[in-house]
């Protein structure tokens, strides 16, 4: 892929892929297909070797990759008729959370998700995917609307966390997150949550209480970011790698604790390498899960959702 952004641990792969590109350039003048095929095979092996032995910190890097598909990318690739709806009707419109009506397989749904930016300007516009209280309140407004019209809710989670700002505190971000947790628990329509990138703490959970919680293979989900954790435990925010190991935030880790229902495999090298392939996998999973949930009554959904989260703990007595 052109303009590939490589992560540190992909360096040997980067060199190899560059060489392949160079050879491809040269092959206009002479036949190098044999050499190229050989290198392609080597690259493929290297890719599967790197990506089957990822450390938790490396996984966190993939989860944050700049070219990773974001909510609006999935909206284009999976849904039709997306109509964005803005504002919390209380204070403003948060650009770090987007939402609106859309069709999945022709049927109307409400889609809500965190949104990050790719270039500097958009990153700032999206506040790096860190919501203010208005984001959670907009999300709740749309979820209640979905309930009113009997539409299933699909949320995409991808945020470093809630925005630690003065205004966010003054306008009650804790209250906004808390309210969403309580209200989502009681919604009588199906809710499917997908952790697509970074599931960062309360800012993630505020739209992540669902009947099904799916997680992309290289996404992460934790109570605090590795850097934040390191800053508290070792007073050193650069020890993120160590903290990531301790927090066990990968899809595999989370699955073992029964917090998620399903891990969605990513294309080799990560979702950022092939948006279409990732979207296809995600589309299939959404359709399948929604079909299962649609037969349930509102009351049944609420009770099963309660029991699902009720069980999430480990202790002895």
């Amino acid at each position: 892929m052109a303009n590939q952004v490589y992560m540190d641990f992909e360096k040997p792969l980067m060199e190899l892929e560059k060489k392949i590109e160079e050879l491809a350039e040269l092959s206009r003048e002479m036949d190098l297909s044999k050499e190229i095929a050989k290198l392609e095979k080597r690259a493929e092996e290297m890719r599967s070797e790197i990506f089957s032995n990822l450390s938790r910190w490396q996984t966190a890097q993939i989860a944050r990759h700049i070219n990773r598909p974001f909510t609006l990318d999935y909206l284009k690739l999976i849904f039709t008729d997306f109509t964005e709806l803005h504002g919390d009707r209380l204070f403003g419109d948060d650009h770090a959370i987007v939402g609106g009506l859309a069709r999945l397989d022709g049927e109307a749904v409400m889609v809500i998700g965190h949104q990050k930016g790719r270039d500097t300007k958009e990153k700032v516009f999206r506040n790096f995917g860190m919501p203010n209280p208005e984001g959670y309140r907009k999300a709740l407004r749309l979820m209640l609307m979905a309930q009113q019209f009997g539409l299933p809710i699909i949320t995409f989670v991808d945020t470093p966390g809630a925005f630690p700002g003065i205004g966010a505190e003054e306008r009650g971000q804790a209250e906004a997150i808390a309210r969403n947790l309580r209200e989502m628990a009681g919604l009588t329509v199906p809710i499917i949550v997908v952790i697509t990138g970074e599931g960062g703490s309360g800012g993630a959970l505020a739209i992540a209480v669902g009947d099904r919680v799916l997680m992309l293979e290289h996404s992460v989900y934790a109570v605090i970011s590795p850097e934040g954790c390191a800053a508290i435990l070792w007073s050193d925010g650069t020890k993120g790698a160590q903290a990531a190991e301790a927090l066990k935030p990968t899809a595999k880790d989370i699955r073992e604790l029964d917090v998620i229902d399903e891990i969605l495999p990513e294309p080799l090298g990560g979702a950022h390498r092939d948006h279409e392939a990732m979207a296809k996998t995600l589309h299939e999973a959404l359709s399948r899960n929604l079909k299962e949930l649609k037969g349930k009554s509102g009351e049944q959904l609420v009770e099963e959702r309660y029991q699902k989260f009720r069980k999430m703990s480990r202790f002895v007595e």
Binding site: A178, R182, G202, L205, L257, Y306, M312
Partner: protein
């Protein structure tokens, strides 16, 4: 720089001549600096008689202050945390749990039970800040959820007194899920029309604030309590600016519409009883 310099070595004071002050006889008020006789301070509900500073108090003492004498019966006292992630920083989580339990207070960061408040039955959950900073892991989340469920079964109001640094990092994703679990239980309580009162004491931050602590039908704070989601240091580092005076203090939150009222410790029980009897439509 000192104005006067001491040329000679200070006079040696012989040990036996020192006036021996028994440990803990005096307590210095961190707010006004006044030296207070600890016994007097305790008699004054651990509130500085000079400036009104509310000292942090233990969960047991809080229960004594809120409930009728002898009415408290504790639930789930034996529940303990486990280090299911094998979490290690400078020490392992297990060794931190063991050390906190060995202090001899409670077995985790919360004490729950039922009791009576001027004869009115309530479910009461009180955080113990001295146990790992009152952090919420599986045990805290489970005990609060059970307290709410008991409220549902018995048709009684539920009161949670928070004093917590937030979610317990050592339980990573499961501590985050306690926020969802406790809030979901509150959804049920609300649907059944039973009151939930959240009392926020110094400090109440992080995932505790962003779940049940902000979901009270009434949110009541003690004076000057630190209440927020993000820690002040994190905010300062993010925005690279100084925080406004009184930021994240109870008075500041009251002004921003997040609290119903600030109530002094000496008035808490009477206030709770007054509002609960009205919410539960009990005759005065």
């Amino acid at each position: 720089m000192a104005w006067f310099k001491r040329d000679k070595a200070p006079m040696a004071v012989k040990d036996e001549k020192k006036v021996k002050v028994p440990e803990g006889l005096w307590t210095k008020c961190p707010s006004c600096g006044e030296s207070l006789i600890t016994k007097d301070l305790e008699a004054n509900l651990n509130v500085c008689p000079k400036c009104g500073h509310h000292f942090r108090i233990s969960a047991r003492r809080r229960i004594d202050l809120l409930l009728d004498a002898g009415s408290f019966s504790e639930y789930d006292a034996g529940m303990v945390s486990v280090d299911f992630l094998d979490f290690k920083d400078s020490k392992s989580y297990q060794s931190r749990i063991d050390a906190a339990v060995a202090k001899g207070g409670s077995k985790d960061a919360i004490i729950c039970g039922s009791g009576e408040m001027e004869g009115l039955k309530v479910q009461l959950a009180v955080f113990d800040f001295s146990f790992m900073g009152g952090s919420m892991g599986s045990v805290v989340g489970e005990k609060i959820t059970r307290a709410i469920e008991r409220g549902l079964e018995e048709g009684t109001p539920v009161i949670v007194v928070s004093a917590s640094g937030g979610a317990r990092m050592q339980e990573s994703i499961l501590s985050l899920m306690q926020m969802a679990k406790t809030s979901a239980a509150l959804a049920k309580l609300k649907a059944k029309g039973l009151p939930f009162i959240s009392i926020l004491t110094d400090p109440t931050t992080g995932g505790v604030t962003a779940s049940f602590a902000m979901l009270g039908d009434l949110n009541i704070a003690e004076p000057k309590a630190l209440i927020g989601f993000a820690g002040p240091r994190v905010i300062e580092q993010t925005i690279r600016a100084k925080l406004p005076e009184g930021f994240q203090r109870a008075e500041y939150l009251l002004e921003h519409g997040m609290l119903d009222m600030i109530v002094e410790r000496s008035e808490m029980k009477a206030t709770l009883h007054r509002v609960l009897t009205m919410l539960c439509r009990v005759a005065a």
